[in-house]
């Protein structure tokens, strides 16, 4: 079974809504406390990036619960300015130095897989996965 839910990110409180949705799914799937905290932190960082840099966008959370695969796919979409240097934002010391949170290297560490598509002035799509 696979189910997708979308949260629009416009205000700071929408970040909390995305976290809540993610948290519920981590519990339903049976992630332990530490991994619940990690997945929720990753969702929070992705949503915060949208709120801070793109103004508006959405977080889609897909719960995958099948015979052979259990886990979550989270997609962050925005129509913001895009990312100029993709390699650089994935480097340590780049995003956290500005005090902006864990940044993408952090999200990458918290999750099993990360993919990023971006285009200048059109927006960014980041897809992360975590499997049980």
């Amino acid at each position: 079974m696979s189910k997708k839910t979308v949260v629009d990110i416009v205000t700071e409180w929408d970040i909390v809504a995305a976290r809540q949705l993610g948290r519920n799914i981590t519990k339903e799937l049976g992630f332990d406390t530490v991994n619940q905290a990690r997945i929720t932190t990753a969702i929070s960082e992705l949503a915060r990036n949208i709120y801070l840099y793109a103004r508006a966008g959405e977080i889609e959370i897909e719960k995958v619960d099948t015979e052979d695969k259990k886990g979550m796919i989270i997609i962050a979409r925005d129509k913001g300015p895009g990312i100029e240097d993709v390699h650089k934002v994935m480097e340590d010391g780049y995003s956290t130095s500005g005090g902006l949170g864990a940044g993408l290297p952090g999200v990458k560490r918290l999750m099993d897989h990360i993919e990023l598509k971006t285009s200048i002035d059109k927006g960014t799509v980041i897809r992360v996965e975590k499997w049980l």
Binding site: D32, T33, V34, A37, R38, T40, T41, D92, G93, T96, G101, A102, P105, G106, R109, L110
Partner: protein, 331 residues
């Protein structure tokens, strides 16, 4: 992880039971192991929480919730820690690369000391960091002339080293054994002005000794004056020559001057790492250097260079803070 958790629980239970220093010591040693295995702070708190709940099933729910909160907030600590670890690894890679680069620089900038009966030549160059910001280039292609360039790049480390290679190839390509110092400085100035960033400057002293006439011709681009010891007078003369640093402006003209070297005379060329003493004015340091050279004047040129380094290092309490380079031409 299960095994680690069981061990942690045992150590924790022992401590709660008897609260001895020994238990705490064992606990710290155990944490060291966990750190080596890259267990994150949030995982350790989770292990602690589970252990407490197992040892004390009657623990109030509020305490458990408190632990959950701590796990949540410690996720960021864990991330920061891992980022630091990865930056440290990255730094180690850079250090290794730097060592390789320094070796390559040493190889590139090797200069052969001319062998000639006309002059006794000495040379020492000690970098303060890995990459030397000073450079000495000898030229001696025939029996008529021996020339030397003493170069100091303003700025340190890798950028200075890259700039240095350019100066070296500039000198190499133009085979300046017979070049007049003013001409050498003018050509190098053009090369450097064209190719180097505005923030990088080079000072250079260029001297050429005419073996047949015993005449030393020199010019300078913003470099430390050299010292000429005249044995007949038992005195030092400063060999000054006004000229702008290399690389500041195109088409700069440099003047050159001549002195005659007589038996027992010597010329000392150096960089500012030799003359700039901490807490002493330039005038004082000149006097110190002249007094020192007077004591050393009967040694070979090479021994003079080495003794000078040792003595000045002692004088500065072993804390030289710049690259140190001396070249001596002795008749």
């Amino acid at each position: 992880m299960k095994e680690l958790q069981a061990q942690y629980k045992r150590i924790l239970a022992d401590y709660v039971e008897s609260q001895t220093e020994r238990n705490l010591y064992i606990g710290q040693n155990f944490i060291r192991q966990l750190i080596q295995k890259s267990v994150t702070p949030e995982e350790i708190i989770n292990i602690h929480k589970s252990s407490m709940e197992e040892i004390y099933p009657e623990i109030p729910p509020a305490v458990s919730h408190g632990y959950d909160f701590l796990i949540e907030v410690m996720v960021h600590f864990g991330l920061t820690l891992r980022e630091h670890q990865s930056l440290l690894e990255h730094q180690e890679e850079l250090r290794i690369e730097m060592n390789v680069a320094a070796k390559i620089q040493n190889m590139l900038l090797q200069t052969e000391m001319p062998k000639t009966n006309a002059l006794d030549i000495g040379h020492i160059s000690i970098p303060i960091r890995k990459m030397n910001g000073d450079y000495v280039h000898f030229l001696h292609n025939d029996e008529d002339y021996v020339s030397v360039g003493v170069i100091d790049v303003v700025g340190k480390g890798v950028p200075a080293a890259l700039c240095m290679s350019m100066v070296k190839y500039g000198l190499d390509t133009l085979e300046y054994t017979n070049g007049e110092p003013s001409y050498v400085l003018e050509v190098l100035n053009r090369i450097i002005e064209r190719s180097v960033d505005d923030s990088m400057f080079v000072s250079m002293f260029f001297g050429r000794f005419d073996c047949a006439r015993n005449i030393f011709t020199y010019g300078s681009a913003g470099h430390e004056p050299a010292l000429h010891y005249k044995a007949s007078e038992g005195k030092f003369h400063m060999l000054e020559s006004k000229g702008l640093l290399l690389g500041v402006m195109p088409d700069v003209r440099y003047s050159q001057h001549e002195v005659e070297l007589e038996e027992g005379d010597f010329i000392v060329m150096m960089t500012d790492g030799v003359t700039e003493f901490r807490n002493q004015s330039e005038l004082d340091s000149r006097k110190v250097i002249e007094a020192l050279l007077l004591q050393l004047k009967d040694l070979s040129a090479q021994e003079m260079c080495e003794q000078m380094y040792q003595e000045l290092k002692k004088l500065q309490e072993l804390a030289l803070d710049d690259d140190f380079t001396v070249v001596i031409f002795k008749k």
